[in-house]
């Protein structure tokens, strides 16, 4: 009986693993290939901060409206497993005391859905007209009037629209969540290099203020200065 249960558990686990599929991105050949990288205790950490344009190209969702996105790669030490957790990362504006932790895919998806639904659709339709009027009779006075060019200009402004706004449905939220979680940095124990995107909520900072990413490795803080 216990054999049957064990076999059933094995089948279920295998199926779950098969359905789960790969997560994250493909790590580069070495940690040195990343713009910013550090190696501590044999563990390599590589980071690339994505520009707004890169974020727009990489993700279907409007992630640039809510988050700072960084691609993070971790290279475990030889023959040693590394526990990857999003809680070990933080983003700090240079010189600031406060730091932000990464947001989960679910949280970001919910935030984006709310933002998509809250925006107002305003349609502006300008119109310009040019006409020519030949000589005619004035309907009031009855006298002859001289013809000439007529010009008109106007603007129509429409606020709101019918139906749900683009990207604001529950299906959209689920799709965003799937995208972010599938492209996100995979968590858990690993002995092979892993990489993926980490999403930090937008931090208010002065223009040109430097950003720092912190990674806690075995209780020690690794600071990576991100380029602008």
């Amino acid at each position: 009986m216990s054999r049957r249960i064990a076999w059933a558990a094995f089948v279920v686990c295998s199926a779950a693993l098969a359905v789960a599929g790969p997560k994250g991105t493909v790590p580069r050949a070495t940690v040195e290939r990343y713009t910013v990288h550090r190696v501590r205790e044999g563990v390599g950490v590589g980071v690339v901060l994505l520009s707004r344009e890169q974020v727009r190209k990489t993700f279907v969702s409007d992630l640039d409206r809510c988050c700072v996105v960084a691609e993070v790669a971790l290279y475990p030490a030889k023959d040693k497993a590394l526990e990857v957790s999003l809680n070990d990362f933080a983003l700090r504006v240079g010189g600031s005391d406060t730091a932000t932790k990464p947001a989960s895919a679910k949280l970001v998806a919910t935030s984006l859905q709310r933002k998509a639904g809250s925006g107002r659709d305003i349609t502006v339709s300008p119109s310009v007209g040019v006409g020519y009027e030949s000589a005619g009779y004035d309907p009031v006075t009855g006298g002859r009037t001289a013809g000439g060019m007529t010009r008109s200009a106007g603007v129509m402004v429409g606020v709101g629209g019918s139906g749900p706004k683009a990207g604001s449905t529950d299906k959209d939220r689920a799709a965003i969540e799937i995208e972010l979680s599938e492209k996100g940095l995979p968590e858990g124990s690993t002995s092979a290099p892993v990489s993926g995107y980490v999403y930090f909520p937008l931090v208010s900072r002065k223009k040109g203020a430097p950003l720092q990413m912190e990674y806690i490795l075995n209780g020690n803080r690794v600071v990576l200065n991100l380029p602008q």
């Binding site: 449905t169 299906k171 799709a175």
Partner: protein, 210 residues
């Protein structure tokens, strides 16, 4: 008289003519009833003598027409429509949008368009039609007649799927052609957004070299 007015007058006249027999019949019916009432003299009163044939005819005439006619009644008309949002597994495998797409008529068209020896599972006609709650995938593929599969289900050839409207979600897009390397991509669709995908399929030789 204007032609439109003339044709309208003709139409009204035709309707009026069609109506005449109906009214005449009803008048006849009512007049026959009246005649029957008129003929049914109280007992003891003198009646005119009739031959047996005339009596039969008179008896037949007395039978109310309404009683002898079969009356047809229109019962409740039921109209049904169904929608399956899927995905689920059917007799032929995985159907992302249900076995015959989301349109009620698809069952008929699909069974006509896709022969029994065709690819299963497949998307029915209309599965990629525009809908305000959907997102667009603009596909360009080389070769143009490459086969397109979405989540493992046959969608059609690339030349006919230049614009696909899909429900928000994540899909596995595969474009494949004979003697060519298949193209795979994970696609994320959001409502009101479009995604441009260019699938250039390399030759099998290139794949071996790599």
């Amino acid at each position: 008289m204007r032609p439109e007015a003339l044709s309208l007058a003709t139409l009204l006249l035709a309707l009026g003519l069609n109506g005449v027999p109906v009214n005449a019949q009803s008048n006849e019916s009512s007049s026959s009833t009246a005649a029957t009432q008129h003929d049914s003299n109280p007992p003891g009163q003198a009646t005119t003598s009739k031959s047996p044939a005339q009596e039969n005819a008179a008896r037949d005439a007395e039978i109310p027409v309404e009683n002898s006619r079969i009356r047809w009644h229109l019962g409740t008309i039921s109209v049904g429509a169904g929608y399956s949002s899927g995905p689920y597994y059917g007799p032929y495998g995985f159907y992302p949008y249900g076995p015959y797409g989301i349109y009620p008529g698809d069952w008929v068209y699909s069974s006509l368009w896709y022969p029994m020896w065709g690819r299963y599972p497949y998307y029915g006609l209309g599965s990629f039609n525009y809908n305000s709650g959907r997102g667009e995938v603009r596909l360009t593929a080389d070769p143009k007649l490459a086969e397109v599969y979405i989540d493992g289900a046959y969608a059609g050839t690339a030349d006919r799927l230049k614009s696909m409207w899909l429900d928000p979600g994540a899909y596995d897009l595969t474009v494949s052609a004979k003697d060519r390397e298949s193209f795979h991509q994970r696609v994320y669709v959001l409502s009101g957004k479009f995604l441009k995908i260019t699938a250039k399929l390399g030759s099998e030789g290139t794949k071996d070299k790599l």
